[in-house]
């Protein structure tokens, strides 16, 4: 497809949040020949800075049009090669552009695994008809089998931005330590999916009242916690041999795991973590048919004890599983206090064939790249996060994890424009019609969500424009 260049775009009096310059407020932006030609803060730079730092929000009289730097996703699955019936690079890229994303890191669990430099080169070459920045994460071990390390140096040279065996935690502690050291020497983070499979084998839902009531096989919180604690211990040791070793834990979901990361960060260890939109906004009670946002619970007590007709919706089957309201609250608290510094979608599209089956037999995963911003805006509307934090968690946060701050610099004057425009006052309903990705396995189908993305510019070109 042809990519229309944003020849001249004038965004007059929008609510702009720029986590890079740490400014927020009413501003006008002019994009010319793909570059940000002008950005003027209506009430001056000092006021814009104060508004950002104090978490100032647009008032009733302020514009409803929001501008952010184009979003950055640390964790997505575009299923190419191997499962193109679920998604491919073009459909995934379109979905991401619709979600306001300008840069997406792709996990290596394709078929074949992204553990070979040629595969990475092919992916980066063939990709991106809409011009998004697609960044391959290479496998840490060959075939993500947890045994021999992948050729990390060659993979880094071929464009890998991180290493991960996502979905297959590295079981062997010695191998994990080696992976940390080797990746660290290349200046790249190791991204780990923390799960002890001996504890979670067969698990269908988070251990707790909902799983017990619905007769679903329990996936205990310790299945995440024990892996997190082990990985922190191994990071501490790896640093003695390789001071550049860096560990990023993806899609953490439990209070106790986040407490462990909080303590490790306080100790000064180079560890970061991310949280998915679904783990902060949904709970396991959704499996019984209760569809309240996680922040709408006044206490731990789940009220939906009898399954509704919508129960056992396989779009809720995900790994790690959705947890109770207390864990979801801990996820949001961790994002507020900086323990977790990024939102990652874990966009995991699955075809209908893999989801229209019994709950326990359904593939794990939620297609999330199109609803992430709206989910965060729903949390913001409930007072969970200020807009400035939402912006940072979706842009500078993930860019910092990858140590690529330029990814979030889409509003820098003189640079290529990478930004999104969203209507904060409008709502939309995810459906087969409104979603752009090939698979629509999201539990948010049919639910009215705040924030409609009107325009996504990536490197000065139009990647998404609402009709």
């Amino acid at each position: 497809m042809s990519r229309p260049r944003a020849e001249r775009t004038l965004l007059t009096d929008h609510w702009v949040v720029d986590p890079v310059s740490r400014r927020a407020g009413v501003a006008s932006i002019e994009v010319h020949s793909g570059k940000v030609a002008r950005l003027e803060w209506r009430d001056g730079v000092a006021e814009a800075r104060r508004t950002f730092i104090e978490g100032g929000e647009p008032g009733a009289k302020d514009p409803k049009r929001l501008v952010l730097p184009a979003l950055v996703d640390l964790h997505a699955h575009f299923r190419q090669p191997g499962s193109e019936a679920s998604e491919d690079v073009a459909s995934g890229e379109a979905a991401a552009a619709h979600g306001g994303y300008g840069a997406v890191a792709l996990m290596p669990n394709s078929e074949p695994t992204a553990d070979h430099p040629a595969l990475l080169r092919e992916l980066t070459r063939s990709a991106a008809p809409r011009g998004l920045t697609l960044m391959p994460i290479a496998a840490a071990t060959l075939g993500r089998a947890g045994a021999a390390l992948s050729p990390m140096a060659e993979l880094a040279a071929a464009g890998a931005v991180a290493f991960s065996d996502d979905g297959s935690p590295i079981a062997d502690p010695a191998r994990f330590r080696s992976a940390l050291i080797t990746a660290g020497a290349l200046g790249l983070p190791l991204i780990e999916h923390c799960e002890d499979p001996s504890l979670t084998k067969g698990g269908e839902a988070a251990e707790g009242l909902v799983a017990t009531t619905l007769g679903l096989r329990p996936w205990p919180a310790a299945g995440e916690f024990s892996a997190v604690v082990r990985n922190i211990a191994l990071l501490r040791e790896a640093l003695r041999d390789e001071p550049r070793a860096r560990l990023h834990l993806t899609h953490l979901s439990t209070a106790q795991a986040l407490d462990a990361v909080r303590a490790a960060r306080a100790e000064g260890l180079p560890i970061t973590c991310d949280i998915t939109p679904h783990h902060l906004a949904l709970t396991d009670a959704w499996i019984a048919g209760d569809q309240r946002w996680a922040w709408e619970y006044s206490d731990r007590r789940p009220t939906q004890r009898t399954p509704t007709a919508d129960a056992y919706n396989t779009n809720l089957r995900v790994c790690p599983p959705l947890r109770n309201a207390a864990d979801a609250a801990a996820c949001r608290a961790a994002l507020r206090d900086g323990t977790a510094s990024a939102i990652a979608t874990d966009h995991a599209p699955h075809s209908r064939e893999k989801k229209e089956v019994e709950f326990g037999l359904a593939a794990n995963g939620i297609a999330g790249v199109e609803t992430a911003l709206s989910t965060l805006l729903a949390a913001r509307a409930a007072g969970e996060f200020p807009l400035s934090l939402v912006a940072a968690l979706l842009t500078t946060g993930p860019a910092a994890v990858l140590n690529r701050p330029a990814l979030a610099r889409g509003l820098a004057v003189g640079g290529s424009a990478s930004l999104l425009v969203a209507d904060l006052g409008a709502t939309w309903v995810p459906s087969r019609t409104t979603l752009v990705g090939r698979s629509i396995n999201t539990p948010l189908l049919g639910r009215s969500l705040p924030g409609v993305v009107l325009l996504t510019l990536v490197n000065g070109e139009v990647a998404w424009k609402a009709e």
């Binding site: 009531t213 329990p218 007590r301 009898t306 399954p307 509704t308 007709a309 129960a311």
Partner: protein, 331 residues
Amino acid sequence: MPPTAVTHRHLLDVAGCSWSELTAFLGATEAARAILRSPTGRSDALNGVQVTTLFYEASTRTRISFENAAKALGANVNSVAVASSSVGKGESLVDTVKTLRALGSNVIVLRHERAGAPWLAARVFDGSVLNAGDGWHAHPTQALLDLSVLVRHIGAKDGTLNGRRVAIIGDLLHSRVARSNLHTLRAAGAEVRLAGPAPLTRGFAELAEWSDGVTLCSSLAEALEGADAVMALRIQHERLEGGEVSSLESYRTAWGLTEARIASTAARECVVLHPGPMNEGVEIDPDVADGPRSLIFEQVAEGIPVRMAALWRTLRGDEPLAGAVRIKGSR
């Protein structure tokens, strides 16, 4: 969204059933029993209805009693033998249900090893789905027949189980029978005491904590204290491989129902139930299973009228169940 327990279209669950809904079931069960006692033993109430039993797990009691119940109401019955059908060739549940719909089934009675499978079937089937047991989750008609038997034997004057204490002993974790009975027994007003080896009561301490009138006990004696009824659950041999039970002998020693144990702590007239199939000499002594307290074969027999009521109410709601077919020439 209202609970789907009884939608008058499907019978997926007894969770959320009120006592008045349960008494309506018991009333329909009485009507079904009258049909069975009549000279012909059958009715034509569901003439022309096609009932299909689709069992992904082995079953004797549940499948046969559903089939007999459907026949006693005049329905046509067929049965998918999962092992020898397309299901054995990997046909998905959804495709199988759509195939049965195309072949004219009005009712699917589904037994499946995965929790929630009947919900999936109900979403793609325009007839009625009756849950005949889904994984660890629910076994609605078993709970209804247990309730029917218990009300008859230990019921209060008002027909409830108010003031009665029922103990459920054994492998709660894997038991759909226990989960469904918890709902019906509580709705009937009974106090429920649960007990079993700790690895097999996983999650039930929390469940009891959040449920009024349900206690998880740490010993068999505590659970049996003052019990008006005790239900033993089957201990499956797979639990030995999983290490959840060290040996059947040790299980029997700690949790086996013996006459001496019942007599020493339970109420004098305490009755004994078991959903079957039994491991006699493990979770229950042969003397108890065959003794005067045992309602086990009554439970099996109760399956037919209860499943007649379940079929009838699922298809026809509150309409009264019509009488028996008369013998030609009689009045």
